[in-house]
């Protein structure tokens, strides 16, 4: 009897209760994500998949955006594009390459960039990102 009433047994019982508590929360966590489990997950950067055929064999391309790319308020689109379009290197804020991606929902910004570069659109997606090609020099 003394063995069951010892401090060690009490601690073991508390641990068992905490394990049971954890298993309960795991069950709730999984059940709450049942809907999410059935969703189709696209690879990060999949929104740029239409750009891939045009960038095959291209070493470097530009990436220009009027959105924030600092650490704290970055939506990650640039890095998603870099991930998906590897091994093509995307140079941020540099449009001096034959190919560049423009990421903006601001019409003025887009028109100004197109006028400046005289580029034509090769591909685009519904998120405000387009792959442009500058004319040959």
């Amino acid at each position: 009897m003394k063995k069951f009433l010892s401090l060690h047994s009490l601690l073991s019982l508390i641990c068992l209760l905490l394990v049971a508590n954890n298993i309960k929360y795991l069950f709730v966590f999984i059940m709450s994500r049942q809907k999410v489990l059935n969703e189709v997950y696209y690879e990060p950067g999949y929104q740029f998949h239409t750009f891939l055929p045009h960038l095959k064999g291209v070493e470097k391309a530009g990436y220009i955006t009027d959105l924030s790319v600092n650490r704290e308020s970055n939506d990650g689109a640039y890095l998603q594009a870099q991930y998906y379009l590897a091994p093509t290197i995307l140079e941020l804020e540099d449009i001096n390459y034959p190919y560049f991606i423009i990421d903006s929902k601001n019409t003025d910004f887009i028109i100004r960039t197109i006028k400046e570069t005289k580029a034509r659109r090769l591909a685009n997606n519904e998120y405000g990102q387009a792959l442009m090609k500058r004319p040959a020099p």
Partner: protein
């Protein structure tokens, strides 16, 4: 097909364990030995893969496979006497079916349940979180598909941290050698292995103290904490840091317990691999190397003698020299941490922000009281922290946590609140298994017959 890669790494790891520990490998719980073999084997395979990239500059599948298989054959050759003379290590020790009892089936069931839960949690973010596809998996893709891996260090945006060591990308690259498809399931599987392996290793080593009792249940609490499993499936390198830190501390305690220098052999190898995981791993490895070496040199009761430091140093250099080559000749210097340390940031306000963030995180409901339990475990036996058998671990935790606090407070590159919000939970995650181990060790270090 990718299971072949994991199996070859397991073989390599097991041969390395047997080579370093010899008959001491029997002190390990069989499941703990298997997990240790898999993890250390993956680390060594990644290191060999890194060396092929240094020589060949890009991904060459046949060469990488050949190098790893050659390493296995070389180890088999050097270990042959261990297996032939059965009194040392019978090959049947790798799978000790003779020791299986009916109640072990319940543990297997528990393990399968936790693996299943971890897999389901991983499926809720199959491509990992931000840093997975922006850093680790991005670099893995460049290792596999680019004509020159140096693009990672010269051309990728600084947000991808080009100075970071590459153990995790090289592990995934090694396993990719056996895949005909996309990279996708490999990072997820590797992360599941590390997070389950870490929890499993902790439970197995604590089980050896008093079977199904308080120590084992402490490990089980951690293993079933939803936040532990969720953070572990982010596909970051933090789960590797957690595992390597845990095994390093385990080897140190076994060395102190048995006074056998063979534990220093495997510790040295493991510290070198830890240094190649992340910059935090490099810091951990250097602190542990320094503290253990000083302990061996000044401990008067040291039966193995000061020459034991040579064991540690030799095996450490085997795995640390590639890390040095990487850091000195290949990777660019770190521009995040050290260049942005500014003593003018040493203000009460920043300490207050850090303190509030830590308290909020520790008492957050997502941890299911785990941190409260760990703190209670540590505080209840805190007076044993500076006994001879605990002093190495205590000094390590003091130095490492002080370094982390200094980095957070003094570094002014990013907004502190944002930085704490995005990284503090991961720092705590990587320390959790080691702290649980240390806490139990504080309780049982003076117990007769305890392996830990």
């Amino acid at each position: 097909m990718i299971t072949i890669g994991y199996f070859l790494s397991f073989l390599l790891g097991r041969l390395t364990l047997d080579r370093c520990l010899k008959e001491n490998v029997r002190l390990l719980h069989p499941c703990a030995a298997a997990l240790l073999a898999l993890v250390s084997g993956l680390g060594l395979s990644a290191l060999l893969t890194f060396l092929t990239f240094v020589v060949l500059d890009s991904f060459h599948r046949p060469v990488i496979i050949l190098v790893n298989i050659s390493a296995i054959i070389i180890f088999l050759f050097f270990n042959r006497n261990l297996y032939i003379q059965k009194t040392i290590i019978p090959i049947t020790d790798w799978l000790p079916w003779t020791k299986f009892r009916w109640f072990h089936f319940l543990y297997i069931l528990l393990g399968v349940f936790i693996v299943g839960v971890a897999y389901v949690i991983a499926l809720t973010h199959p491509y990992g979180e931000w840093d997975a596809w922006a850093i680790w998996n991005l670099k893995t893709r460049f290792l596999i598909v680019s004509d020159s891996w140096n693009l990672i260090f010269t051309d990728l945006h600084y947000h991808t941290h080009p100075d970071y060591p590459l153990l995790l990308p090289f592990i995934n690259t090694w396993i990719y050698c056996f895949s005909a498809d996309n990279l996708h399931p490999i990072p997820m599987v590797t992360n599941i292995i590390f997070v389950i392996g870490c929890g499993g290793f902790l439970c197995c080593t604590l089980y050896q103290i008093r079977k199904f009792s308080f120590p084992f249940l402490m490990g089980l609490i951690m293993f079933t904490t939803p936040s532990y499993l969720y953070l572990g499936t982010f596909q970051y390198a933090d789960s590797l840091i957690a595992f390597f830190l845990l095994i390093n501390l385990y080897f140190i305690t076994m060395f102190q317990k048995t006074k056998d220098a063979s534990w220093l052999n495997i510790l040295g190898l493991s510290l070198g691999l830890t240094a190649f995981v992340k910059n935090e791993g490099l810091l951990m490895a250097l602190i542990l190397m320094f503290v253990v070496s000083v302990y061996i040199l000044i401990d008067k009761n040291n039966r193995v003698g000061k020459s034991a430091v040579k064991h540690l140093l030799f095996t450490f250099l085997i795995t640390f020299i590639p890390v040095l080559i990487f850091k000195v000749f290949i990777a660019p210097p770190n521009d995040d941490i050290l260049p942005n340390i500014n003593t003018s940031n040493f203000t009460a306000e920043r300490f207050q922000i850090l303190y509030n963030a830590v308290i909020t995180e520790i008492f957050h409901e997502k941890w299911c009281y785990m941190w409260i339990v760990v703190l209670a475990l540590l505080i209840s036996r805190i007076w044993r922290a500076f006994n001879r058998e605990n002093i190495i671990l205590s000094i390590f935790f003091i130095i490492y946590s002080s370094a982390i606090v200094c980095i957070y407070v003094l570094n002014g590159k990013a907004d502190l609140s944002w930085w704490l919000e995005t990284s503090l939970s991961r720092i705590l995650f990587s320390l959790l298994p080691a702290l649980v181990f240390f806490g139990v060790h504080l309780h049982y270090s003076k117990q007769r017959g305890a392996h830990v």
